[in-house]
């Protein structure tokens, strides 16, 4: 907690300006409020270089979509981008890019709507959309492959998007499968919304810590092949660019930022339940495990957290994404059409036709672990 950090640095001067009293220690340096805020902003703006005014075509405003989760990170990103756009306007009369915001609702939780309306009040200049997750069954153009993931018993044609989502989740057999599928669908929904609203890229609020979690989580889910597109800045197989402007900031630094900056930020952030150390493995998800792991690593070994992200950034996607067939669920290109969990060294059954073995659906290795194989093959196209 920032409070604790403050007591730790009592009576110390800020190492950067050597004038003001330090309020917290950042990567071993005691910093004052202003220098800390500047530190955070600098780290973000470094990654927004290509969206500076002088790089912008005055006749064609580039539009970016910010994916808001109402966590400390994405709220901070919105706050800083708002500042950035304000500064750009005051200096040059125009901005380097236009910004839209989207929030994906989690079913059965109303508390976010209250926060969301506060966000809209605090940042009135932006179009802030709120979409239910089941809109993925409305917005994604290839509905056939997506509906093919529903269990066999489902009469897909008669189901509303909301019912489809409930049916899909009802068929998943573990907490981790539900969380993994929800996260994948959320990404796809954000992508489709970005496309439909004319955005050329998505800005994600993932901190260094979150990206490190994601690296190890995707590895653990068997999705190592798709890491270059989940963690790196740039074009993705979705046909638009992903950017992670908070990639150089630790989660704890962003939490401290919300606290240090104060109103209105703390009132906008949705309280996240503390990650429990001892949950039953039945309800634990792979994401939970990685979150716990890096929350503890972050305390004493922040550079190791950044190093994981930096290392993953060096992985190079080899295949040209246009050529490879895509996974029905996550939409990532699967090289050589190696769908499913069969047909590799670790598969001991030696099934010759991987597509047949995965009951007609085209799921990548990782997604096959989440979606049970006993479901409907009818919608799968060969």
């Amino acid at each position: 907690m920032p409070g604790k950090q403050i007591t730790d640095v009592v009576e110390q001067l800020c190492r950067r300006c050597t004038e003001n009293q330090a309020v917290l220690v950042v990567r071993r340096d005691p910093l004052c409020r202003d220098c800390f805020v500047r530190y955070v902003h600098t780290k973000v703006i470094k990654h927004m270089e290509s969206f500076r005014v002088r790089n912008a075509d005055p006749n064609r405003q580039r539009k970016l979509l910010l994916a808001l989760s109402l966590g400390a990170s994405s709220v901070t990103l919105l706050h800083i981008l708002d500042h950035l756009l304000e500064t750009q306007t005051s200096k040059s009369g125009r901005t380097g890019f236009g910004l839209s915001v989207v929030f994906v609702e989690t079913a059965g939780d109303a508390s976010h709507q209250d926060r969301l309306s506060k966000v809209r009040q605090a940042y009135p200049d932006y179009d802030i959309a709120s979409l239910p997750l089941h809109d993925v069954f409305r917005l994604v153009p290839d509905q056939e492959s997506l509906s093919g993931l529903l269990p066999e018993s489902a009469t897909v044609e008669e189901l509303s998007p909301a019912d489809k989502l409930v049916t899909l989740f009802g068929s998943l057999t573990s907490a981790t499968a539900r969380e993994d599928v929800a996260a994948t669908l959320r990404t796809r929904l954000v992508v489709e919304y970005a496309k439909s609203s004319g955005c050329e890229g998505v800005l994600w609020g993932d901190s260094t810590t979150k990206l490190a979690e994601k690296t190890l989580a995707e590895t653990a889910k068997g999705c190592g092949f798709s890491l270059p597109w989940h963690v790196a800045d740039g074009e993705t197989p979705f046909g638009l660019a992903f950017n992670y402007p908070l990639r150089d900031l630790l989660k704890k630094e962003l939490v401290a930022y919300v606290d240090v900056v104060g109103s209105p930020l703390p009132s906008l952030v949705l309280d996240s339940a503390p990650t429990q150390a001892s949950m039953s493995s039945k309800n634990t998800t792979i994401d939970d495990l990685m979150k716990q792991y890096f929350e503890s690593v972050e305390v004493n070994f922040p550079s190791i957290v950044s190093n994981v992200v930096r290392t993953t950034g060096k992985l190079k996607a080899t295949l040209t994404t246009n050529d490879a067939p895509a996974c029905d669920l996550c939409s990532m290109p699967v090289s050589d059409g190696r769908f499913g969990i069969h047909g590799w060294g670790g598969d001991q059954h030696g099934i010759a036709d991987p597509i047949l073995a995965s009951s007609g659906r085209r799921l990548c290795y990782g997604c096959t672990r989440s979606i049970p194989s006993t479901t409907n093959p009818t919608n799968g196209s060969a």
Partner: protein, 437 residues
Amino acid sequence: MAPSLCAHCKTNRALILRPKDHSKLCRPCFLTTFETEIHHTITSTGLFTRGERIAIGASGGKDSTVLASVLKTLNERYDYGLDLILLSIDEGIKGYRDDSLETVKRNAEQYGMQLCILGYDELYGWTMDQVVEQVGKKGNCTYCGVFRRQALDRGAARLGLTHVVTGHNADDVAETVLMNLLRGDLPRLSRTTSIVTSTPSLAADPAANTHIKRSKPLKYAYEKEIVLYAHHKNLDYFSTECIYSPEAFRGSARALIKNLERVRPSAILDVVRSGEDMAKLVPDSDEGCGRVCTSSVPAAEEEQGGCGSAQGPSSGGDLATLEQALSSDDRAADAALEIEITTSSIAKRTAPLPLTVGKSRKVPKAPNNTRKQPKKQVMGQCKKCGYLSSQDICKACVLLEGLNKNRPKNHIEVGYEPEKEATSVAEAVKQLDVGAG
């Protein structure tokens, strides 16, 4: 719980819940399934050739004992035509290997395999006890680690063999994948995921240590199933209470793997799969250089951490050490950034925060570059022993040079060609021992 039938034969009562996929099997079906999977691994990767003589790196522990037993079974069942030999290394630490070497000796009889025990004294001219005597207890972990890395290869070369199989299992591989991600070591991640490390094609001299192929037939086998197999097959193995604590990295990666396995049993296999896929994405890896440079790196690099002499965790690769190295790099990069910020016009406290970093100049990149560029290792051979090394002289030979320089004068000077000299050195040492005792 009502007794259920074996999912495989549907006849016997199921006794075993398979850790890998939670299927319920009877004892014979479990054993057969386990063996068949190893057979599948061997045949689908073309691991062995008929008539090949193969050394099984044997420690008497569960992994290598199961490996030896399964290979014997499969060699007979499927007529691989292999000549299997047990190869054990004795570090020369009084008492440390006694029990495990006894186990290996019994295994050799049980499986009707030839056994060869090679000591550090024969391989290097020094036992670990002698090294400790020379350098003290503090620094000897370095020696143990470096010597151990080459020992199997040197031993195999001594026996005139070109292929060593080790008992590394899926848990080990998964652990190494996570560990190398945490450590930021992509080249090593890429090479430890492949079933065969080190390729014989590189070496011109068949007698050189470089001509050793290393492979891990248990790469896809779960540790828990190895334990179950050993148990249900009544194998005679030595359960080592690990007397060293693994280095912090391996320890935390291991704990993570165990937790993942609890959440999703397939996770170990899934990490291995991710590791294999990521290996293809590592720049300048296999694809880049025609499979020569990655696969020719000494396989033994991946050897388990820690050292048999119970001197505590090795310093290299420790979390805190790495953190310190990385964070000073980060600070240098930040400092460069900071200069940039302070030189750009910054408004006073009341003004809006500066949101555009210095418009005129780019952020200096220099301090970052040193680390960003992946260190390209060029592998050659050690000029002294022929072992694959990124340096002119391999680590073992450098350490040996230091040891030998300081060896008391009445000892016999050790040459650098272990092939020729080591035996005489070993004899000399033995004579000295007799004299001293």
